[in-house]
Amino acid sequence: MSGAPTLMHRRLKPSPFLPDLAEIVRKDHLTSTETLYQLRLADGSELGHTPGQFVELSVFGVGEAPLSISSSPTRGEAFEVCIRRVGDVTGSLERLGLGAQIGVRGPFGRGFPLDEMRGQDVLIIAGGLGIVPLRSLIVNLLDERGDFGDITVLYGTKDPSFLLFKDEITRWEARDDVDLRITVDLAEPSWKGSVGPVTTLFRRLTIDPKRTVPVMVGPPVMFKHVVKQVLACGIPEDRIILSLERRMKCGIGECGHCQINGVYVCQDGPVFTYAELKRLEEAML
């Protein structure tokens, strides 16, 4: 994989820990635990990210958390993050209203290799919150639709109430240049769609292994099964793209928390090829 930036400071600062200020300009509750935030940097500048990168968001007095950027760089100066409430930082963001100021560092990390996808078919596989960074990619692909071959999105989630970005998904479904398929682990009888893990969606799929780039983000268990599937399709290991989550404290490869064997997820990732991760036992794939 090449071409993707490794570390992009928006501005070189004496303290890599000093955040820029950003304002919450929109808040949409997507589910009972997930909220989409639209943020604007106080100086009005653009974040300047690529899909798959993340920011460190901070609420002063509470702490910092790494969060994927969910909006596409093709969409103007405000950017979006979609956050599941699990602890201190994510919980306190929930309590802040519009206009509140929070800190932003980043964007950090290596994003999806967009350039390598150009001219190729893209197979996107999202599990649960994995849709958050992938939404950035999907929107980007759609905004530059002509550059890519077939675009397929497989999205699996626990049950229909956990589906994120429902309105957008409906719009994507309506398009005939995207093949979008959804499955849930558990559903009421009223659910008309597919039931089962995301791998069930592979059944009626035709994949051209020579021109398909699979991109997957989801929980560790999902990776194990999906990687097996795409390998079985004959896609080479160095074309399989995944994004990982680890504990992070700095985002710049100092603090040591996100290390997987010798690799730093915050810098060398979070986006990797399967070939890169295969030999790392701590990647747990």
Binding site: V59, G61, V62, D88, S92, R95, L96, A100
Partner: protein, 266 residues
Amino acid sequence: MSEAMIEALQTLKRPRVAVFELASCAGCQLQILNCEDELVDLLQLIELAYFKEAMTETSDVYDLALIEGAVTREADEDKLRTIRERAKLVGTLGACAFPVGIPGLKNGHDLEEVARQVYGEHASYFPSVEAKPVDSVIKVDLHIPGCPIHKDEFLRVVTGVLLGRKPPIPGYPVCVECRLKENICAFDRGLICLGPVTRGGCGAICPSYGSRCFGCRGLADDPNLASVENLLEDHGRTREDILAEYALYNGYYALHDGGLKAKVAP
């Protein structure tokens, strides 16, 4: 805007805090009063709803009830259940309330015999049951450990609770802070030490003052008890000695639930 933000961040606004006492030395309550530099500011942040040692007024609903002391009488259990019903959050204050502290020392003795030793033939006036930690009776939301509690940690917990943060109590062992303080390890001073298995956060204050850790903060999250037992045996201690070591502050857990184990804190 700024005030609005701080307001918004707070899960509890000027919470009503109550301090209750069971069998204890009252030293943890005193530690609250010992926050001399902060007390005036603290009283702006919280409303003291019940604090017998310091005040007369009482109130019956609390956002945060802090309980000092071990359960040693049946009546204590009812008292705790009432507190639990009236309080949004319940926390323990100090080692007596969790893991049981010095009051638990009597658990190793025959209780009737102990009462007789102290009160002679009048022992029956003073019923006492085995000393137990508060969370053996009611659900506890947070523990502020230590014998006594550490002032700074108490204040950090309070501000943490106000901002909806998890209580900042470390899970790592005392040795971590001890090494950072560049102390001469107790084991290098011919002593033994419970630092490797005891929850840190006290700044390893006992080894820092030339003593050793006796385990007042309870077990760390991930103690390697088997290895420490070997270590103490290598330093000439028998299994009984080791149990007696743990019994000083961790008497309840040393004798119950199949012995000491980790992850007892919420």
